[in-house]
C-alpha cells in the first residue's frame, strides 16, 4: 500500500468511526486539560514570585519571643549598618487588620514616601496627575479586592480604622492599585509609614522587621551566624530560604495533582486495554477482517499505531489548548482557589502565560506511552491469531 492510499484509508477510517474516537478523545482531553491547567497555574505563580523576589532585599531580621514575632527595635538598624558588607538597611512596617463583621482581613503596609526611591515607585504605579494630593492628609492606596469589599460595605471614599488604643482613624482612599498587581496586592492597603504605625500599634522606635542587602552572596552564610550572635532573640531569614519555601509549596501542590493524574491515566489505560482485548469487540473483528484481506501483521500494527498516534496527538493538543485558554485567558476560575484560596477577599488574577516546554513534553510522554502500549499490545495479540478466530 503506498503512502497516499494508507493515509486515505486511515483518515477515512478515523472519520467513519468518529463517534468511537470522540469518546476516547474527550476523556483523554479532559485528563490532559486538568493536569496542564494545574501545571500552568503553578508555573505562572512561580514565575511571578521569582520576578518579585529578584527585587527583594537579601535578608530579613525580626525579633521573636516564645517563637512568635514581636516588634523589632529600630536601634537594630544602626547595629546592622555597622556590620561590614551590609547595605540598604530598611525597616518594614506591616500587619493584618481585621474587618470585624465577617472577620475578613487586609494587609496594611507602611511605606516611607519621603524616600526618593519609594516616591519614584509610587509615580510609576499611580498614573495620577496630582500625586501631591496623596501627601495631603491621611490617604491610602488600596488593592482591587479591598476596594470591592469596602464598596460593598458602604465605604466608598474613606474607612475608619480602629487603633489598638480604641480610637478611630479616618483614612481616605486615594487610588486603587493596578490590576496587574492583584497577585501580590489584592488585599493590600498602602499607607504612609507613620499612619501604619499608628493603626497597627507600633511606636516610632519599632518596626515589624528590618531588611538589608549583602551584595556578596559568598558572605550570606557567615552573615547569618554574625547576626544570630548579635541578639539571642533575633530571627534571620535570607532570600534563598524564601525561594525554597515557595518552590516547595508549589511543587507540592503540583505534585498532588501529578499523582492524581497518574492514577487516572492508569485507569484509563486499563479501560483501553480491556476494550481492545475483549473477545467479541468490534476492534477484534476489524483486525481479523484486515488480516483476512491479506494485510500482514506488520501492516496492521503500523495502521493501528498511526491511528493511535493521531488520536493521542489530537487529544493532547486540544487538552493543552483548552488549558491555556482556561488559565491564561479566563484566569482559571475555581481551580485558582486551590492555589490562592477563596476564604478572604475575592481575587481576580490574570496569570502571566508561562509555557514550560520540558514539562509539556514530559506530560506528552507520560500520557502517550501507556496509551499507545494499552492499544498496541492487545492489537498485536489479536493480529497474530488466526483471522477466522479473531472474527468470531
Amino acid at each position: 500500500m503506498n503512502a497516499n492510499a494508507f493515509w486515505h484509508f486511515l483518515t477515512l477510517q478515523l472519520v467513519k468511526e468518529r463517534n468511537k474516537h470522540f469518546s476516547i478523545i474527550l476523556i483523554s482531553m479532559m485528563i490532559v486539560f486538568l493536569l496542564s491547567s494545574v501545571l500552568f497555574i503553578s508555573s505562572s505563580i512561580r514565575f511571578s514570585l521569582e520576578e518579585t523576589l529578584k527585587v527583594q532585599p537579601d535578608f530579613v531580621v525580626s525579633r521573636t519571643q516564645g517563637g512568635t514575632a514581636i516588634p523589632t527595635p529600630m536601634e537594630w538598624s544602626d547595629e546592622l549598618l555597622e556590620i561590614y558588607g551590609v547595605s540598604h538597611v530598611t525597616p518594614r512596617v506591616y500587619g493584618r487588620y481585621f474587618f470585624e463583621p465577617k472577620a475578613k482581613s487586609f494587609l496594611l503596609v507602611g511605606v516611607d514616601f519621603m524616600e526618593e526611591q519609594s516616591h519614584k515607585n509610587l509615580q510609576v504605579l499611580i498614573t495620577s496627575t496630582d500625586i501631591k494630593a496623596f501627601f495631603e492628609g491621611n490617604q491610602m492606596l488600596v488593592g482591587q479586592g479591598v476596594k470591592e469589599y469596602l464598596n460593598a460595605h458602604f465605604y466608598k471614599d474613606a474607612y475608619n480604622f480602629v487603633t489598638p488604643k480604641g480610637k478611630f482613624q479616618k483614612v481616605t482612599m486615594f487610588k486603587t492599585l493596578p490590576s496587574q498587581t492583584n497577585l501580590l496586592a489584592n488585599d493590600m492597603i498602602v499607607l504612609p509609614i507613620d499612619l501604619a504605625r499608628k493603626i497597627l500599634g507600633y511606636t516610632d522606635e519599632e518596626a515589624t522587621d528590618i531588611l538589608f542587602n549583602v551584595p556578596n552572596t559568598d558572605e550570606w552564610e557567615l552573615m547569618t551566624d554574625k547576626l544570630s550572635a548579635l541578639h539571642y532573640d533575633l530571627h534571620v531569614v535570607n532570600k534563598k530560604e524564601v525561594q525554597k519555601s515557595y518552590a516547595n509549596l508549589y511543587n507540592y501542590k503540583g505534585g498532588v495533582f501529578l499523582i492524581l493524574f497518574l492514577i487516572l491515566l492508569a485507569t484509563f489505560a486499563l479501560i483501553l486495554y480491556q476494550r481492545y482485548s475483549m473477545v467479541y469487540s468490534s476492534e477484534r473483528r476489524h483486525i481479523g477482517l484486515l488480516r483476512a484481506l491479506g494485510w500482514s501483521i506488520n501492516a496492521v500494527l503500523k495502521f493501528k499505531f498511526t491511528e493511535t498516534i493521531v488520536v493521542v496527538s489530537v487529544s493532547y493538543i486540544l487538552g493543552v489548548l483548552l488549558a491555556y485558554l482556561y488559565v491564561f485567558v479566563l484566569g482559571a476560575p475555581i481551580l485558582r482557589e486551590i492555589f490562592l484560596g477563596g476564604q478572604n477577599l475575592h481575587n481576580v488574577v490574570s496569570f502571566v502565560p508561562v509555557l514550560d516546554f520540558s514539562v509539556l513534553s514530559s506530560i506528552f510522554l507520560i500520557y502517550a506511552l501507556p496509551f499507545i502500549a494499552s492499544v498496541l499490545i492487545p492489537v498485536w495479540k489479536v493480529s497474530v491469531t488466526d483471522p477466522k478466530e479473531a472474527m468470531l
Partner: protein
C-alpha cells in the same frame, strides 16, 4: 487524506497559531515591571492569598496557648 480530516487539522493548526501569538505578544516586560515596582515599593513579596487567618481558632497541641498563624512562613518570619 480526506477533506474533513484535513479541515480538522487546519483548524487545530490555527488554534495552535492563536495560542502561540497570544503567548508571544503578551506584554511580559510591562507586567513584570508593574509587579516589581509594587514589590519594590512595599518590600513585600508574598502572594495575596485569600486565606482565613483565624481559621484555626485554637491550638491543637497546647490548648492553653494562642493558635499559631498558619501562613506565617510565607510572611518570611
Amino acid at each position: 487524506m480526506i477533506k474533513p480530516f484535513v479541515s480538522f487539522i487546519l483548524f487545530l493548526i490555527l488554534m495552535v497559531f492563536l495560542m502561540g501569538s497570544h503567548y508571544l505578544l503578551f506584554p511580559y516586560e510591562k507586567n513584570s515591571h508593574t509587579i516589581q515596582t509594587m514589590a519594590k515599593l512595599t518590600n513585600l513579596s508574598p502572594l495575596s492569598l485569600s486565606v482565613a487567618y483565624d481559621e484555626s481558632s485554637f491550638n491543637a497541641t497546647y490548648p492553653e496557648m494562642p493558635a499559631f498563624g498558619r501562613m506565617d512562613f510565607l510572611y518570611e518570619r
